[in-house]
C-alpha cells in the first residue's frame, strides 16, 4: 500500500502489574505486549495471528483506545490516539470500531438487536430516532439480516447471525478501521465462511481497513493482505500474506504453518510437522533474549543473550526477528 498509513503503531508495550493467570508469581509483571510496531494502510487488512495469551486482544484493545499502552504510540492519521481530548476521543470512536469474539456474550441480552445496533448512533446523538431506525434497517440489510427482525432479542439468533449483529453495530457510525478480535473463532466452518465473505464484501463496499485478529492461520490468510505473527507479546514476523505463508523465515512461523494440516488425507500425512517442545512459556516470565528460544530447534547461545530485532530480509516489507533467519527466503511448497 503506497498511500500513507491510516494507523501507525510504534513500539507499543503493555505490561500488567501482576499476572491474572499466575497468582503464584505475584510480584511479576506480565509482558502482554512488548514493543510492537506495524502500520495499516487504507483498505488494507492486517492479520494478527498467534497462540492464546500472546497479546493479540490486549493490542486490539489499545488500538481502539479501550486500554492505554505502558509506552509507545498509536497514531491514527498522524494523531496520537492516547493524547486526545475527550472530544477528540469521541470523534475517534466514530473512526475506529471493534468486533469481539464471542457472539454469545458480547451482545446485551436485554436489548433488542435493533437497539444494540443503533446504540452507537444514539450515544453520538446521530440523527432523529426515526432516522436512526432507518439507518438500523439499512445496516441490517447490509450485513444480510432481515430488517423486520430488529425487535427481536439476541437469544433468538444463531451464532453467525449474532456475529453479523456485532458487525452491524461496529459499522453504525461509518468507521474507517474495524478491529476484529477473533470474529469467527466461535463459529462453525460453514458459518465462518459466510462471515469471512461478508467482511471481505464490506471492505470493498465501504473502503474499510481491518486489523483481523485470530489464532487460526488459515482464517487469517483467507482475509488478510499482510500478516503479523505474534509470540509472547512480540511480533516475530510480518509481511505480505503470500510471502509469510509461502516463504516463512522465522522458526515459529514455520512450525505454526506446519501444524495446520491440509484437508487432503495424503497431503496431510506427508506434511512434515515441526514439533515444538512443550507449550508457550508464561508471559509473566518470558525467556531472556529471544522469547522463542525455549522451544526453538535452531537456538544457540546468542539467542539467550541478545534479543533479535525485527529486520527486513531479502524481500521488501518482509520482516523477521531471528538471529538465524535464512538470508534468502525458504520456499515452502505451494
Amino acid at each position: 500500500m503506497c498511500s500513507p498509513p491510516i494507523l501507525e503503531v510504534t513500539d507499543v508495550t503493555r505490561h500488567y502489574a501482576s499476572g491474572r493467570r499466575w497468582p503464584l508469581g505475584s510480584a511479576s509483571r506480565v509482558h502482554a505486549v512488548d514493543k510492537v510496531s506495524f502500520t495499516l494502510g487504507e483498505r488494507e487488512t492486517l492479520g494478527l495471528v498467534g497462540e492464546s495469551g500472546c497479546g493479540k486482544s490486549t493490542l486490539g484493545r489499545m488500538l481502539v483506545a479501550l486500554d492505554r499502552p505502558t509506552s509507545g504510540t498509536i497514531r491514527y492519521r498522524g494523531e496520537d490516539i492516547h493524547r486526545l481530548s475527550r472530544a477528540g476521543l469521541k470523534a475517534l470512536r466514530r473512526k475506529i470500531q471493534i468486533v469481539l469474539q464471542d457472539p454469545y456474550t458480547s451482545l446485551d441480552p436485554r436489548m433488542t438487536v435493533g437497539d444494540i445496533v443503533a446504540e452507537p448512533l444514539a450515544v453520538h446523538g446521530e440523527g432523529t430516532p426515526a432516522e436512526r431506525r432507518n439507518r438500523t434497517r439499512e445496516l441490517f440489510e447490509l450485513i444480510g439480516l432481515n430488517p423486520d427482525h430488529v425487535n427481536r432479542y439476541p437469544h433468538e439468533f444463531s451464532g453467525g447471525q449474532r456475529q453479523r449483529i456485532g458487525i452491524a453495530r461496529a459499522l453504525a457510525l461509518g468507521p474507517e478501521i474495524v478491529v476484529c478480535d477473533e470474529p469467527v473463532s466461535a463459529l462453525d466452518v460453514s458459518v465462518q465462511a459466510q462471515v469471512l465473505n461478508l467482511l471481505a464484501d464490506l471492505q470493498e463496499q465501504l473502503n474499510l481497513s481491518y486489523v483481523f485478529i485470530a489464532h487460526d492461520l488459515t482464517v487469517v490468510r483467507q482475509i488478510s493482505h499482510r500478516v503479523a505473527v505474534m509470540y509472547l507479546g512480540k511480533v516475530i514476523e510480518v509481511g505480505p500474506e503470500g510471502v509469510v505463508y509461502g516463504q516463512p523465515r522465522h522458526p515459529y512461523t514455520q512450525a505454526l504453518l506446519s501444524s495446520a494440516p491440509p484437508t487432503d488425507p495424503d497431503m496431510a500425512r506427508e506434511q512434515e510437522v515441526i514439533m515444538l517442545n512443550g507449550d508457550p512459556p508464561s508471559p509473566a516470565e518470558p525467556p531472556s533474549g529471544c522469547r522463542f528460544r525455549t522451544r526453538c530447534w535452531k537456538a544457540e547461545e546468542v539467542c539467550a543473550v541478545h534479543e533479535p530485532a525485527l529486520v527486513e530480509g531479502a524481500a521488501s516489507g518482509h520482516l523477521t526477528a531471528c538471529h538465524f533467519a535464512p538470508a534468502a527466503s525458504v520456499q515452502v511448497d505451494g
Binding site: D188, V189, S190, T218, L256, P265, P280
Partner: protein, 344 residues
Amino acid sequence: MSDTTRKGNTMATEHLLEVHDLQVEFGGEDGPVPVLRGVSWHVDRGETLAILGESGSGKSMTAQVIMGILEAPPARIGGGSVRWNGRDLLGLPEAARREVRGQGIGMVFQDSLSALNPVLRVGPQIGETLRTRLGLSRGEARDRTVELMRQVRIPDAEQRYRQYPHQFSGGMRQRAVIAMALALSPDVLIADEPTTALDATVQVQILRLLQTLQGESGMGLVLITHDFGAAASIADRVAVMYAGRVVETGMVRDIFRRPAHPYTKALLDAVPRADRRAGQLAALPGQPPVLGKETSGCPFRFRCPLAETVCEEREPVLSEHAQGRWSACHLGKDVIAGVLTAHS
C-alpha cells in the same frame, strides 16, 4: 477383556464398538425434541474413526449414550443399540456399565479442564481408578501412574506426579487427562474434541500422541472433531453428522476427495486453506438446523444446491451408492460423480 471370536463371513462381523440406529430425545415444553435420529457407526480394533459435523449435530450426545452418562431424564433413549465386543450395553445394569466405562471404553471429554480437580495433585488423580477399580496398593498405583504419565510423554513424570493442575500447561493437562482415560487399558478410546482448546503447535502434539498410543495398543480410536485437517491426518474412516444423523460415512480418502453427500462437500469447500488464498470461500447458505422443528424430507434440503422435489417428499436413509460409499442423499450417485464440483 476376552477376545471376542470373529464370526465367519456368512454373518456380519462383530465390530469392536458399534452404535446402531440410536435415537435420543429430550422432553421439551412442546413435546419431545429429537436430538439423535438414528445414529449408526462402528469402529474396529486398531482403527481411527473421525466424527465430523457442526455444533449441535449430536456428536457428544452419542458419546454420552455410549458411556452411559446421559442424564435421563430429561433425555430419553428412544431406541437403537450400542454393542461393545458383541455385548449390548444399553440393556446392562448400571454396575456392569460402570465396569465397561474406563476398562472397556475410555473417554476424553470436550471440556477436559473440568476433568481435573484443582485442589488435588495430578498423579493421585490419575491413579485413583487404579486403586478403586483394580485394587492396586498405593505404591503400585503410584508406579503405574508414573508409567502412564511417561506413556503420554509428560516430561519429568516423577516430579509432575506431585504437582497440582494449575502447575500444568494446557497441553500437559490434556496429556494428564488422556493418561486418566487410558489408566484401565480400555480397548476403545473416545476423544471428544481433545485439542480444540489448545494452541495450534500443541494440537499437533496431542493428535500425534493419540495416534502413537493407538498404534502401540491397537485400541480403537473415535475422534470427535470440527477440524478437517485433524481428521485428514489421522482418521481411517469418517462419519459426518448433520441434524442428529450420520449423513455420510466411509474411508477418509474417498470422502475427502469425492464426498457422497452435498453437506460434506460444502463443508470441505468452506474450509480456508493455509497453502493458498481463495477469492471467496464457497460458503454454505443458511444455518445449521434447529433440532426439534418438525420437518419433512431431507433435513439438509434448505441449504442444498441440488435439492429436488423428491428431497421434500422423503427423508433419505444412509445407503450405499458405490462400493463402500454410504450417504443419506437421494442423489448420492450424482454427488460422487461430481455433479456438484463444477462451480468450485
